[in-house]
């Protein structure tokens, strides 16, 4: 399945719930609402044509206005891959865990939680992962984060 066919298939199958955000250089990027996330993940995982069996990566993004969580997924069997994104406001940012679909999401979600402060619902083991265990300085990947010895690159 090439990129155009994949895009058309997903947009047709989830019409009205999934938008195309970017056709992308290599893979298309979709956008969906966070309450549709788990249902979408289960659907693309169990769909025979897609058979998305591999979660490559979960990334948090702070755009300066809102949080985004980007999921990169792939199918080893069908040799396709694409990204999808959900956006949320700063206040009470939270997202459902996708471990029930791909168990490998565990560590990625811990990282997103730890660095951005995006709460992961139904995670089960939301503990410190990369930062020191006694870390008490907030969420360092946020745009407005600051600490006593943190030096921002001067604008040139």
């Amino acid at each position: 399945m090439d990129k155009a066919a994949l895009t058309k298939y997903i947009l047709d199958k989830f019409a009205g719930k999934v938008d195309l955000l970017d056709t992308g250089k290599v893979e298309p990027v979709f956008r969906l609402e966070s309450d549709f996330l788990l249902e979408f993940c289960r659907a693309i995982n169990s769909d025979e044509t897609l058979h998305i069996d591999f979660l490559c990566n979960i990334a948090g993004v702070d755009t300066g206005e809102r949080f985004e969580v980007v999921y990169s997924v792939a199918s080893v069997k069908n040799r396709i891959r694409f990204d999808f994104k959900i956006a949320m406001a700063y206040e009470n940012a939270e997202v459902e865990s996708v471990q029930s679909v791909w168990p490998g999401a565990n560590w990625h979600e811990r990282e997103v939680w730890e660095l951005y402060g995006i709460n992961i619902l139904n995670h089960g083991n939301l503990t410190r992962f990369l930062l020191p265990d006694n870390w008490d300085q907030g969420y360092p990947m946020r745009k407005n984060w600051d600490a006593p010895d943190f030096v921002r690159m001067p604008e040139s």
């Binding site: 930062l131 020191p132 990947m141 943190f150 030096v151 921002r152």
Partner: protein
């Protein structure tokens, strides 16, 4: 007697032998400076340069410097590479486990002042002198083996000057 003539000693010749009088400080510091065993502590790319210095082309062993994998027998930590905030307590622990006298060389820009991670980094300790007392700083990213050798010779000079009780 060739070597002994170079030493700052008082030498009295007697028939059938001699008496050498020197200071304990001098003998001890000479011995220490000539056999600095350093702890294996490479945390990033500077460790590659440290390995190159230990290998045959630059030959650290000329100065009696041999690596030890245990802090119990080490005299020197060459902190080669980026020290993150998570690594910092471990560095302090290893330093505390070493027997006195002990020395620290900060090798590379990261250990001197954060190096390329000075700006925009939440994870990197900006200079290991916040954690352990540093004797010699070697800037560079990474420093060439010549720089490291120069740093070690500087440390040797420092050790040769010290007296018993100057240990930290």
């Amino acid at each position: 007697m060739g070597v002994i003539k170079k030493l700052p000693v008082y030498l009295e010749h007697f028939p059938g032998g001699g008496i050498v009088a020197t200071s304990l400080d001098y003998v001890l510091s000479q011995s220490q400076a000539s056999s600095i065993w350093y702890l294996l502590f490479g945390t990033a790319c500077c460790a590659i340069e440290l390995m190159a210095t230990g290998a045959s082309r630059y030959d650290f062993d000329r100065f009696g410097m041999i690596f030890r994998a245990s802090p119990r027998q080490a005299d020197l930590i060459i902190a080669a590479g980026t020290i993150t905030k998570k690594m910092a307590p471990r560095l302090r622990l290893l330093y505390d486990q070493m027997a006195q006298p002990r020395y620290v060389i900060a090798m590379g820009g990261c250990t001197v002042k954060g190096g390329p991670f000075y700006y925009d980094s939440y994870a990197v300790e900006k200079g290991i002198d916040h954690i352990v007392p540093v004797d010699v700083y070697i800037p560079g990213c990474p420093p060439r083996p010549e720089s490291l050798l120069e740093g070690c010779l500087t440390l040797q000079k420092k050790i040769k000057k010290q007296k018993i009780g100057d240990w930290s």
